[in-house]
């Protein structure tokens, strides 16, 4: 049987992509942030995962509002990098795992979750901005991407995110012997529009990290406006971390945690193992 051997929650942001491409690892603003990913990358490598399930949101690069799915599962053996308007970064395409993808698709639908199933899917900075920090390219570990609508309301509830995570956990358990890590990207506090552009809420972000580990049911009870008023409108995407948490089972052990808020977005990182 398959096993979820680890879970990661981590922020994605275009600024991380730029810092990576510009080699800012020694820059005083970025040095500690870059270093904070190293223990996570070493732990992830030591886990020797056979595949990653990566939960993220598409920033209107694969999907447009003509047909914007609430949940979309990538089932393919390769995923190309999206050009988001600035051109592609010098990074390879991602390998997919269609066996695991179809298995999760079948299991989710049997479990009464109905994702859009995508055999072609470009993947944007929701994955590409952070993956190089966690797993240096070239990438040999395949991924199964799950895109969540956190942009156009109505959004799935926090509880729904947790529940689909639990269903992914069940899907992995009924898969063949395989070591799977689930990564959720997004958030944390940030607002990217209006007069409160740049809103940051480090206290709330850290409270979220505490609750995610020990009391995720409290996070499941919050509605979208609760999240948006605390962390800024665009920070609502942090509900995607509950997909990861839902997949991890009732108790987790924290392996590594970091948090920075240097510019526009709270950069959080947690690594969990099931306890």
């Amino acid at each position: 049987m398959g096993q979820i051997v680890g879970g990661i929650g981590v922020s994605h942001a275009p600024s991380l992509a730029r810092a990576y491409d510009e080699g800012k690892g020694e820059d005083p603003v970025w040095r500690d942030i870059f270093k904070s990913y190293e223990p996570a990358a070493e732990w992830l490598k030591a886990l020797e995962p056979d595949a990653l399930v990566v939960v993220y949101n598409d920033h209107v690069n694969q999907f447009f509002f003509d047909a914007y799915p609430t949940f979309a599962l990538g089932v393919a053996n390769t995923f190309a990098q999206a050009d988001e308007g600035w051109g592609k970064r010098p990074l390879p395409d991602l390998q997919g795992d269609s066996d695991l993808g179809w298995h999760i698709a079948r299991s989710l639908v049997a479990d009464e979750f109905d994702p859009t199933i995508c055999q072609e899917m470009v993947v944007d900075h929701g994955v590409y901005s952070i993956l190089p920090f966690l797993m240096p390219p070239p990438w040999e570990t395949p991924i199964v991407p799950l895109a969540v609508n956190v942009i156009q309301h109505p959004l799935p509830t926090a509880q729904r995110c947790f529940n689909i995570g639990a269903a992914i956990g069940r899907a992995v358990t009924s898969f063949r012997d395989a070591r799977i890590v689930i990564i959720a990207t997004g958030g944390m506090s940030h607002q990217l529009h209006g007069t409160d552009f740049g809103h940051l809420a480090p206290d709330w972000d850290n409270e979220f990290l505490d609750l995610l580990e020990s009391e995720p049911e409290a996070l499941c009870e919050l509605n979208h406006l609760d999240y948006m008023q605390r962390g800024g409108a665009e920070s609502v995407e942090v509900i995607m971390w509950l997909v990861m948490r839902g997949a991890m089972g009732s108790r987790v052990r924290n392996i590594h945690r970091a948090y920075f808020a240097p510019m526009l977005t709270g950069y959080g990182l947690v690594c969990f193992e099931s306890a």
Partner: protein
């Protein structure tokens, strides 16, 4: 209270043309066409005169009010050589320098 404009289904409908134009700029050929003849590009997407003016003026605040989504109209910013920080400063009614003075990194470096 954090001031915000929630991107509801109704707003998404109101901003549909504007967002569709913006989203089209993920294609390098479309970016070239936009830069070559912006008014023609706006006509191609059936933008109203008011929407065309928002694009012409890089009026990001006005785009939000018209149903534009920041993730999408950022592709206009990308196409014309701008970036998120400049877009954000404009929406706050600040210059980029004024905005950057509000950020923690400026207090620590340089």
């Amino acid at each position: 209270m954090v001031q915000m404009t929630v991107f509801t289904g109704e707003r998404s409908m109101a901003g549909y043309r504007l967002n569709k134009l913006s989203a089209s700029l993920i294609d390098p050929a479309n970016r070239a066409n936009f830069l070559a003849d912006e008014p023609a590009y706006c006509r191609r997407f059936d933008l109203t005169d008011a929407e065309t003016k928002l694009v012409k003026n890089r009026d990001w605040t006005g785009m939000v009010e018209a149903g534009g989504n920041v993730y999408v109209f950022l592709k206009i910013a990308a196409t014309v050589g701008s970036n998120l920080l400049e877009v954000g400063a404009e929406m706050r009614g600040e210059t980029l320098t004024q905005f950057m003075a509000t950020r923690p990194p400026q207090k620590r470096s340089k």
